[in-house]
Every structure is written in C-alpha cells, then in structure tokens.
C-alpha cells in the first residue's frame, strides 16, 4: 500500500464525512422546530463540512500550489458565515419570531428593554 493509496483513503473519509454533515444539516432543517435551532443545524456544513471537503480535495490534488486557494476559500467562509448567521438571528429576534419558551436564557430582551427607557437630557 503506497502513500498515494493512504492519501486517497484519507481523502475519501474526509469527503464522506463532509457530505454526511450536509445531509445531517438538511435533516435538522426539516426536523427542528424554530429558526434558531435550524440555524444551529445550518452552521455545521457551512464550516466543518466545508473544511472537511476542502481537506479531502487538498489530499486528493496533492499540489502545494492549490493550497493557497483552498485556504482562501476556508478564510472567506469563516469570515462571512458568522455575519450571515448574526444578521438572520438578529432579524428573527427583532421581528418576534423567536419562541421564548424554547430559550434557556434570554439576555437580549433585558438589554433591549433597558435601552428603550427614556434617557435624560444630554
């Protein structure tokens, strides 16, 4: 068993795990009851699944010139996925779509209420 076979097996494992995470996220989208828990499921393939698939791709290409571009893809996704999740969760909370019975702790409501109090004159 040569080195390329070992790398191929590792790449296959990474690709299988990444695609399985996509499937699990889709199951979560169907099964979970509200938006915040669906967002919890949605982040798995966005970050870990993407990293696993790109590690599999890098192990399979075995070319150091493509590593920079692969790292760039991971960096882009790491920097943009939190922005999207933050804005979606914030919009859901402000629109009153969050089921407060399902929350364990809710610090944002208290903060918003304290900010809605009238301020004194500057």
């Amino acid at each position: 068993m040569s080195w390329t076979d070992v790398l191929d097996v590792a790449a296959a494992a990474c690709l299988l795990a990444g695609c399985l995470l996509s499937l699990l996220a889709a199951l979560g989208m169907i099964r979970f009851p509200d938006l915040l828990s669906r967002m919890h499921a949605a982040t798995k393939p966005q970050v870990l699944g993407l990293v696993l698939v790109l590690v599999g791709l890098g192990l399979r290409l075995r070319d150091e010139r493509t590593l920079g571009l692969l790292l760039l893809v991971v960096l882009f996704q790491f920097s943009t996925a939190p922005i999207a999740s933050h804005m979606a969760g914030r919009a859901a909370f402000r629109a009153g779509q969050v089921d407060h019975d399902l929350l364990v702790t809710d610090e944002l409501s208290e903060t918003l209420e304290s900010h809605e109090e009238p301020r004194g004159a500057p």
Binding site: A26, L50, L69, T80
Partner: protein, 92 residues
C-alpha cells in the same frame, strides 16, 4: 474513488431535496433564507467533491466566489425584513 462519488452524491441529493422542501414550506422568509444558505453550502460540497474525484482544479475559483458571496443574500434579506413587514404569520 467511484463509490465515494456515488455515496457522497446520494447524501448531497437527499440533502438538497430536504432543503428545498424546507424552502417551500418554511413559514417565514428567514427560515427560507437560512435553508438557502444550507443549499449553497451543499453546492460548495458538490463542486469540491467533483473536483476531488476527478482531480482537476477548474472549479476552485467558483468555490472561492461562492464562499465569499454566499452571505450576501442572507444579509440583504435579513436587513430588509428587519421590522415585521414581509414576515408571514406562522401556519404550520
């Protein structure tokens, strides 16, 4: 690598179908846009899988563009539905 391509493609196709079901059914616009994000990441996984199995680098720029611009739809929809307008009542 052919069986890896088969199994992973089956995973991704089932995932895409389930996500499209959620996009169709999703009670609010934000549910749909979060599901759409999952569909974009499944697309990235499919492109990476195909490039890995066939050992070519043609789709790497597409991966970079999708990873960089995938959040624009979510950000714009989330900021445009900031108030209660554009949000449907829940009818599950």
């Amino acid at each position: 690598m052919t069986w890896v391509l088969g199994i992973c493609s089956a995973f991704l196709v089932v995932a895409a179908v389930l996500v499209v079901v959620r996009i169709t059914r999703g009670p609010t616009m934000l549910d749909r846009i979060v599901a759409f994000d999952v569909l974009v990441s499944a697309t990235i996984c499919a492109l990476g899988l195909e490039a890995a199995v066939h050992q070519h680098t043609h789709s790497l720029p597409i991966l970079a563009a999708l990873a960089l611009l995938g959040f624009v739809s979510t950000a714009s929809v989330a900021s445009l539905t900031g108030g209660r307008q554009g949000v449907e009542e829940e009818d599950r």
